[in-house]
């Protein structure tokens, strides 16, 4: 075992290491580590003494006698409720003098809007401890951290690390990457819709409280955004998987991901004449956007297909493609759906006709649903409001007229919207149907609880109750990719980004069944390479789906949900040992089969002899996947893609499109490669 970093030792010493036994054994045997631990121990003792010298304020003794306090609160609550009823019953007239006993604080609460309180009375506010929300994502190894840090520094000079999680905030020191798109080409003025649009307040730059150490090159904080700047976009960098030596590790594990939003976002960006933010590029979502020619399983839930050939981009490496295809069902065989749409109608949704696109998308969807499906609609601006109680699609006119009447209003209180949407979904819950809340938003939260952890907690609680969440992203400036992805991930749902009506049609027609009906929950993939044949491996993408190898058979670990007919593709870049016969890799998939209601594991192996001799021997699907991955790799500035030219990518894209009989997606992809190449030059 190599000596751990000082930070790891400190983590061990302070009792925060998850797997301390091997480290402790090492430290006991290693003189250098033992000495370092001793130094750390002295530090900790000094800190302990200092901490005990810190003075803390005393918690004040309660003034009133205990029994009266709850009563007092209840009385105040009653007054507030009366006050609210008064306001609600006369929405247009300003309220008369507030009740005398209502304090200033109460009045403030009342003025914040009815939504929260009203919704709270319907749903129990989630209570309890946040579960280790992101435990699995924090288990990234050191090399990948190194990549991440290097890239972050190169990109902006910001001192970033992978500490913690935060989204939705737009302060300039957030480690979440922030991109400011340039002037938009041909800005179509939004149609004058309803009340004046309230734009989100400009981000408030705050100076760092602590000056950086003078010894080092001071990290330059990024230029604080000025109010007149175009709105910012928020992405989160998940790093880049490292190349792993099979002498050290032979196994790789990750949760499946069927989302495609990253590709659509890239397309939108390139079509506007801009390179996408490298941190928003998720390789797996680019690869999974395309349709491959893998057959659906004849029996069972999944078919696994493996194929390996020399990389068309690097003759020294091979590419292993793993194609997982979920079973298909006929549209008539799917369960009825109970959908609750939670639609962002805040001011920002008025930009670029975002809300209009949502409305058109919904009309598309309704045309494709069955009369026995049900739809409810909740909208939120500064607070949430019911628009349409759950209505069977048989009454299509009612639904369509409710959609037509949507207008933008106020600021963005996602929490309130979700809460109310879940209130609907809970009330109309039907265990025999598919229950799903669909959030349509540009992902900006600026009112109410904007803390993503708190939102995520609610979303996870509801997913555990059987109400899943899917997120549909709209809009470009001000867009919060990371929040939308995390919410869908936590809600056992899909995340798609819709940039135009064509994409909306695609999602609601081709992908509707898969989006609505889940066949496998917490699906994980584990690949075990044979060190006799494979020297190194690298997983392309799935960085934020990392699962620790030891957790593959831990069925409590949250992983990916896969819907009917979904197709998941994963690529590994391999360094093979010359002329070594035998097994190359074994791929195992483990998931909760929702039809059987039990955990199932299946596996498939590939022998060294089955590896194709030439890149030209690879199938059309293999070539398409390899090219889509390389496209993403270059766009995210992966160090492994430095040597690859755009001409090569373009040639491979053209060839893949031809071999696949020129489907629309692949033809469009060739055009995007050309655009990206022109912008990169």
């Amino acid at each position: 075992m190599n000596c751990p970093t000082t930070e790891t030792l400190e983590r061990l010493a302070l009792g925060f290491h998850e797997d301390p036994a091997p480290l402790r054994a090492h430290a006991a045997a290693c003189a250098a580590c033992a000495a370092r631990l001793k130094l750390l121990g002295a530090d900790h003792a000094a800190l302990e003494a200092a901490a005990k010298a810190v003075r803390l304020p005393r918690v004040p003794r309660p003034r009133a006698r205990t029994p009266w306090r709850p009563l007092g609160l209840a009385a105040a609550g009653l007054l507030v409720a009366t006050f609210l009823v008064m306001i609600l019953s006369r929405p247009s007239a300003p309220p008369a003098a507030p009740p005398v006993a209502s304090s200033a604080a109460d009045a403030q609460v009342a003025s914040k809007g009815d939504g929260l309180r009203d919704a709270m009375s319907r749903i129990n506010a989630p209570n309890g401890i946040l579960t280790g929300v992101d435990g699995r994502r924090e288990v990234l190894n050191d090399e990948s951290k190194l990549f991440r840090r290097k890239r972050n520094e190169n990109a902006s000079g910001e001192a970033l690390d992978n500490y913690g999680e935060s989204v939705g905030r737009r302060d300039p020191f957030d480690k979440t990457a922030v991109t400011r798109p340039g002037p938009e080409p041909a800005p179509a003025p939004p149609p004058p819709l309803g009340p004046p649009q309230v734009l989100p307040p400009p981000p408030r730059p705050e100076p760092p409280k602590l000056a950086p150490e003078p010894r080092s090159e001071p990290p330059k904080p990024p230029e604080p955004p000025r109010p007149e700047d175009p709105p910012v976009m928020i992405f989160k960098d998940a790093g880049i998987n490292p190349t792993v030596d099979t002498a050290k590790e032979t196994t790789s594990t990750f949760g499946l991901d069927v989302d495609t939003a990253s590709y659509t976002l890239i397309r939108n960006s390139l079509n506007r004449g801009q390179l996408p933010n490298p941190r928003g590029v998720r390789v797996e979502e680019c690869v999974n956007y395309f349709r491959y020619l893998d057959p659906a399983p004849e029996t069972g839930t999944f078919a696994i297909r493996l194929e390996a050939a020399p990389s068309p981009f690097d003759p020294e490496r091979h590419l292993l493609r793993i194609g997982i295809k979920a079973k298909e069902i006929k549209e008539s065989e799917r369960k009825d759906v109970v959908l609750t749409f939670v639609i962002d109608v805040s001011g920002s949704m008025g930009q670029e006709n975002r809300l209009e696109l949502v409305k058109q998308s919904l009309r598309e969807l309704i045309d494709r649903l069955r009369p026995s499906d049900r739809i409810g609609i909740v909208v939120y601006g500064s607070s949430a409001r019911d628009v349409l109680a759950s209505t069977p699609v048989a009454q299509k006119e009612r639904i369509v007229s409710a959609i037509d009447a949507l207008r933008t209003e106020g600021s963005t209180n996602v929490e309130d919207g979700l809460r109310r949407g879940y209130g609907y979904a809970t009330r109309d819950f039907d265990g025999k149907k598919t229950n799903r809340v669909v959030l349509c938003s540009d992902g900006v939260a600026n009112n109410g609880v904007t803390d993503p952890e708190s939102l995520l907690k609610q979303v996870k609680d509801k997913a555990a109750e059987g109400i899943f969440l899917s997120t549909l992203g709209f809009g470009m400036g001000n867009y919060n990719d990371h929040l939308m992805e995390r919410l869908a991930d936590g809600g056992n749902g899909n995340y798609a980004y819709i940039d135009d009506l064509k994409e909306a049609r695609k999602i609601f027609s081709e992908k509707l069944a898969g989006m609505m009906e889940v066949v496998a929950q917490d699906a994980k993939l584990q690949v075990e390479f044979d060190p006799a044949t494979v020297a190194t491996f690298r997983l392309l993408g799935y960085e934020n789906r990392h699962v620790a190898n030891r957790d593959f058979r831990n069925d409590k670990v949250d992983a990916g949900e896969v819907g009917v007919g979904h197709h998941v593709t994963a690529l590994y870049e391999l360094g093979l040992k010359p002329d070594a016969p035998g097994r190359l890799a074994t791929v195992r998939i483990r998931y909760k089969d929702l039809a059987l209601n039990e955990v199932v594991e299946a596996q498939e192996s590939l022998g060294r002899a089955q590896v194709k001799a030439l890149a030209a021997d690879g199938s059309a699907s293999w070539r398409m996947a390899a090219t889509a991955a390389m496209f993403a790799e270059i766009l995210r500035e992966s160090p492994r893609a430095k040597e690859v030219s755009w001409d090569r990518v373009q040639a491979e894209a053209e060839r893949a499109a031809r071999d696949l009989d020129r489907p629309e997606d692949a033809v469009e992809f060739v055009e995007l490669v050309k655009k990206a190449a022109a912008l990169k030059r």
């Binding site: 900790h44 810190v54 280790g132 690390d161 935060s166 020191f173």
Partner: protein, 160 residues
């Protein structure tokens, strides 16, 4: 249990858990008072809780998060806005400083960083206990503590 003994036994610990989450002195004192009242009531009432100390931490953490959630005010996370030097001195840096200087540096840290350090070094909570109180995974709790240590160390080295 009498208020005094309740406050003496659990006051600091509850306050630190609550304050590390709400990060506001006045609000933390209010919430802590509620928590202590609740603990006092339960102590007299039911005896079903096995691990009492862990239960106190959970109650305090939940109350703090509820308070945070019910306030529509944006949560100010001063701690995460600080720029920290990633390099870490190898030697026993803190041990060379006087106790008062370390204590002063501690007191000037942002609320979240200061309180998580106090939970560890003043209250002597274990890693899992801190994670439970803060309602995050062990890894996330370590990130908070480690960030706080880095802040403290860089604070002590920045001025001679």
């Amino acid at each position: 249990m009498e208020w005094e003994s309740l406050a003496r036994r659990y006051g600091d610990r509850v306050l630190l858990v609550v304050r590390s989450i709400v990060r506001d002195d006045a609000a933390a004192l209010d919430v802590s008072q509620e928590v202590l009242l609740k603990i006092g009531r339960s102590l007299n009432g039911q005896a079903g809780v096995k691990n009492y100390d862990a239960w106190v931490l959970t109650v305090a953490g939940n109350a703090a998060r509820d308070a945070l959630r019910s306030r529509t005010r944006r949560r100010e996370v001063a701690m995460e806005q600080d720029v920290v030097d990633e390099r870490r001195p190898e030697g026993a840096l803190l041990a060379q400083e006087s106790r008062d200087r370390v204590a002063r540096a501690l007191e000037t840290l942002p609320a979240g960083a200061r309180d998580v350090l106090l939970l560890k070094f003043r209250e002597g909570l274990s890693g899992p206990e801190i994670a439970q109180a803060l309602g995050v995974s062990l890894a996330a709790a370590w990130q908070q503590l480690s960030r706080a240590m880095k802040l403290l160390r860089s604070k002590l080295t920045e001025t001679p």
